[in-house]
């Protein structure tokens, strides 16, 4: 067994020095009736070559995004990740280290986290950021719970532009922790009157921008109204690249900014692992969930970094903690940070411009297909189209032609007739002009 260094001789010697006759003497506390006499009903170990063949066969049944014209987004985006990123995160010292509980021998992880926090704070225009959350959706639920703690109120207003699965995550946590949510109906056109619904009972207003449907919200107006009623504004994003081109939510009055960081540095991975970005105002720091890294000095006065503010956390505070979170998304946040370092402000801005340009180009091509209507007035790299007929079957027929053309809204929001003909379409720098042209041509064929 290639993974286990002990030999049978070792085992015998060790049992002897422990002073027991057999290995099962060490398992004597296990109830004898339930103790397994033999191996589990599973195959025995495979050699590496067999294992690889077996898993490669499963992988081979899937259609990788990179092998086809690809326009699927809706919360996860395919971008080019430089080879440097994946190489660096596979360094043993990053990959196989634990949480940096011993700062003297974890400065690599800690300094990277401090840099990550600075990048996230600057990108979102906020004063402080944590060392990451599981992903954007769970981060959004944590933001809502945090707003309840800050305002001592218990109701969150959710915009109809919020990703439907994010909404479900917030609703699930809220319902089972005895908090309330008011979710506005899905808002493909970006026409909901959110301002009208803001009152003194709300702890927070949750707005996604660009929205699930791609619309860019008027954050400043919502912030003003929310603040006038003592509520916090939580701004959510699912496409971090958008912040290279559109104004930072922090500059527009957001109190908590939370988003999905997958699109920088991280592969699609069928939905995870991803990395939640979480930033807020300095004055709310002590209510922020998750790990936080801070600067300090060592006994020699040299600069160093530690995990800090741990009196908020479960391992110290137990049932009084701000959150039950322990693990964060360390390696994914490192990937984000390395990719962001490679991009820099100049690269990020250029990348964002290219994404927006591709999406504008694709939107024009698709809107020119007979019967197709573009719903968005504004968007970044993603928009919603209305097609004649069932969006679901249009997407399936496009897939048969080798084009992954987007997400039918009905997949996430089934049973609503008004949404059955909508497709959310994303274009990134990886969608070439030929890909865009192929999509438009295929859509024309499918709808003909």
């Amino acid at each position: 067994m290639r993974f286990l260094p002990l030999t049978d001789d070792d085992r015998r010697t060790m049992l002897q020095s422990i002073g027991v006759g057999a290995i099962d003497d060490l398992f004597a506390d296990l109830p004898s009736a339930e103790r397994l006499d033999g191996p589990l009903d599973l195959p025995n170990h495979m050699g590496e070559a067999t294992l690889e063949r077996r898993l490669a066969r499963m992988a081979g049944r899937n259609v990788p995004a990179g092998s086809v014209p690809f326009f699927v987004g809706a919360g996860a985006y395919r971008h080019h990740v430089p080879a440097t990123v994946d190489h660096l995160i596979q360094r043993s010292e990053f990959l196989t280290a634990y949480t940096p509980y011993q700062p003297e021998i974890s400065q690599g992880t800690l300094q990277a986290l401090f840099e990550f926090q600075t990048q996230v704070a600057n990108l979102t225009g906020m004063e402080v950021a944590n060392a990451s959350m599981y992903d954007g959706s769970t981060g959004t639920a944590e933001a809502v719970l945090m707003a309840h703690r800050v305002t001592r109120r218990d109701t969150a207003l959710l915009s109809g532009g919020l990703h439907p699965q994010y909404r479900e995550v917030v609703e699930t946590v809220s319902r089972l922790s005895d908090h309330k949510t008011i979710a506005l109906p899905a808002d493909p056109g970006g026409t909901e009157d959110l301002l009208e619904r803001i009152d003194d009972t709300l702890s927070c207003v949750v707005v996604q921008s660009p929205s699930f449907f791609g619309q860019i919200a008027d954050i400043a107006a919502i912030a003003e109204k929310a603040h006038a009623h003592g509520a916090l504004l939580v701004v959510v994003f699912t496409e971090a690249v958008s912040l290279g081109l559109i104004e930072a939510p922090g500059a527009l009055g957001a109190d908590i900014v939370v988003g999905e960081g997958q699109s920088i540095g991280n592969a699609l991975n069928f939905g995870g692992p991803y990395v939640g970005l979480f930033a807020t105002r300095q004055k709310y720091l002590r209510q922020m969930p998750g790990r936080i890294c801070g600067e300090t000095v060592d006994a020699d006065g040299a600069r160093g970094f530690v995990l800090t503010m741990s009196t908020r956390e479960q391992h110290i505070r137990r049932e009084k903690a701000t959150s039950n979170i322990c693990t964060n998304s360390g390696l994914c946040s490192l990937a984000f940070s390395i990719h962001m370092t490679l991009l820099g402000e100049a690269g990020l801005t250029r990348l964002a411009r290219l994404n927006h340009a591709r999406a504008c180009h694709l939107a024009d091509l698709l809107a020119a297909v007979p019967g197709v209507e573009l719903l968005n007035e504004s968007f970044f790299n993603e928009f919603t189209i209305r097609v004649p007929g069932e969006a679901n079957s249009v997407i399936e027929r496009l897939a048969e032609r080798g084009i992954l053309g987007g997400v039918p809204v009905s997949r996430l929001l089934p049973g609503d007739e008004a949404l059955a003909d909508l497709i959310v379409v994303a274009a990134t720098e990886t969608s070439s002009e030929e890909d865009c042209a192929a999509y438009a041509a295929a859509l024309k064929e499918v709808l003909a």
């Binding site: 109830p31 809706a74 010292e93 992880t109 699930t172 104004e247 300090t296 991009l343 290219l354």
Partner: protein, 524 residues
């Protein structure tokens, strides 16, 4: 010196330093001081060549960015050097034995990394048409089958993102099951030795946390549970083996008491590594248990995540699994993504996360399982327990065992009685290990033991490796006996940094880099 609430010092003694650095650069041979990215990066530099697009009319609805961002860039060679130098300041399982109790720092096979990076797994989108990802559903189903067989349970909720997220999922299922019976119960029983996530999770769902005192041998007595259990208690959250490294031998009786009162048995699966292939939690009465794929099944910890925390469920809770979930379809599986697609018998309580969970971790975990198989899984548990007991036996005469010299499971727990009246603390002892080239064990946890030192060597260590580790700790313990406090007080001396001032970090938080001209403003 200031103390946190477990008596752990959080700031170094002043004057313990050895003065300034000896070299011009501040570097010490291969240990190179690396400035912050923000001190070496430049706004106009980029390490990625991206085509410049011709002018076009943006459609950003007036939201175009007007402010600068503050994101310096580095060229590709500078980037690689920056991060390689940072990496060299980290200890890792690939560097040496990593005895963090309750964290299961075992070897991470590289084939798992290779498999997770196959484009058919890494480059597929969670919302691309189902017809284009049958292999993904097959993989999730296969992993689910292994998890259910290993744990002897009826169902598994795959999507939780980490252990604590799995706890939340399991406790939500319990709350939903009680609600379905028209019941609302007010409290949850949690032993004092539990991980902090357990009470935090119960409290998040509005439950009052009732501590179960441990009996003198570090385990939970059925009588204590019987006394606290009632029709108002939703259930118990029990870690088994517990955080003292002991198997809760009365687990069946405890489960029966909880079930008698209509409650549910949540098991914290953090320590599954000790018993996999030896006994199945489902056979012991467990209703829900999260599995830390990043512990038992070796998906890399990555400096603090990502984790993955699938939750196995008994028949009593299976119906309440959140979306998305797997449904048996002959030999294969159906993937149910919305509550609307659930049948009348399926009562999902909601959704834990967007998309489908930690696919990248699923691939690694299944790859680990295939590599070990039924035979290797059982052997790994036995070797983990053997190594822990070998450490215990090797140190029992020089360190102190809080519950007497009896076999442990996969981790050996010591207390600080052997340090009594020496002026040396658990923290000092641990920091001296760093100078010897070891990552310290878990300290000051579990809370039921004073000055706890919790050692988990795992099955990945050879006898020679454990021998050297034991010899090193014996040598340190002898220094304690001989009153050689100098070895401990200023430790570590040889690491990239000496002891860091945690008090200062918490009192005057500096959580991001600011340009020097703005520092004065920030500190006011």
């Amino acid at each position: 010196m200031s103390l946190n609430n477990q008596g752990r010092p959080t700031a170094p003694e002043s004057g313990s330093g050895d003065g300034g650095r000896a070299t011009f650069t501040g570097n010490k041979g291969l240990q190179i001081e690396e400035p912050l990215l923000f001190e070496i990066g430049r706004a106009e530099v980029t390490g990625v060549d991206i085509e410049e697009v011709a002018d076009f009319v943006p459609r950003l609805g007036g939201a175009k960015r007007k402010t600068g961002i503050g994101l310096p860039g580095l060229s590709e060679p500078e980037t690689i050097r920056h991060y390689v130098r940072l990496s060299q300041k980290n200890y890792a399982i690939d560097t040496g034995l990593y005895p963090l109790g309750s964290c299961t720092m075992k070897h991470n096979p590289r084939i798992n990394e290779k498999m997770a990076r196959l484009p058919g797994f890494s480059d597929i989108h969670p919302l691309q048409p189902r017809s284009t990802v049958p292999g993904a559903v097959e993989l999730i189903g296969e992993l689910a089958r292994w998890l259910m067989e290993i744990t002897g349970t009826a169902a598994v909720a795959m999507s939780p993102k980490a252990g604590a997220h799995g706890e939340l999922c399991g406790m939500m299922a319990i709350r939903a099951a009680l609600e379905a019976r028209g019941e609302s119960r007010s409290s949850v029983l949690v032993p004092e030795s539990a991980h902090g996530t357990n009470p935090a999770t119960a409290a998040l769902l509005g439950y009052k946390v009732v501590d179960i005192p441990s009996r003198d041998d570090g385990t939970v007595a059925p009588e204590a549970v019987a006394e606290l259990m009632s029709e108002d208690v939703a259930g118990i959250m029990l870690t088994n083996p517990n955080t003292c490294g002991l198997f809760e031998r009365d687990v069946k009786e405890i489960a029966a008491i909880v079930h008698e009162h209509g409650g549910y048995f949540y098991a914290d699966g953090a320590n599954l590594n000790a018993i996999m292939g030896k006994v199945r939690p489902g056979d012991l009465g467990v209703d829900a248990m999260h599995i830390n794929l990043h512990k038992t099944f070796s998906t890399p910890h990555g400096g603090g995540g990502p984790g993955a925390g699938p939750v196995v469920l008994s028949e009593r809770l299976a119906a309440f699994a959140p979306v998305p979930f797997l449904r048996r379809d002959g030999e294969g599986w159906d993937w149910i993504e919305t509550a609307r697609a659930a049948s009348d018998e399926e009562l999902p309580f909601g959704r834990m996360t967007a998309f489908h969970g930690q696919m990248g971790m699923y691939v690694r975990a299944l790859s680990w399982m295939y590599g070990h198989g039924a035979d290797g899984i059982r052997q790994a548990a036995e070797d983990a327990v053997l190594n822990a007991n070998y450490v215990r036996a090797g140190l029992s005469d020089v360190m102190s065992l809080p519950f007497g010299d009896r076999p442990c499971m996969h981790e050996a727990l010591f207390d600080d009685a052997f340090l009594k009246d020496t002026g040396i603390t658990t923290l000092d002892f641990a920091k001296a290990m760093i100078d010897e080239g070891y990552h310290p064990m878990t300290m000051y946890f579990p809370l039921v033991v004073h000055g706890a030192l919790l050692i988990e060597p795992t099955e990945s260590e050879s006898k020679a490796s454990v021998d050297l580790f034991v010899a090193t700790l014996r040598d340190l313990a002898m220094s304690v006996r001989n009153g050689d406090t100098g070895r401990f007080a200023g430790a570590p001396r040889l690491a990239p940094r000496r002891r860091l001032d945690e008090t200062r970090a918490a009192r005057k938080p500096v959580l991001k880099w600011s340009p020097p001209d703005q520092l004065a403003e920030v500190s006011t």
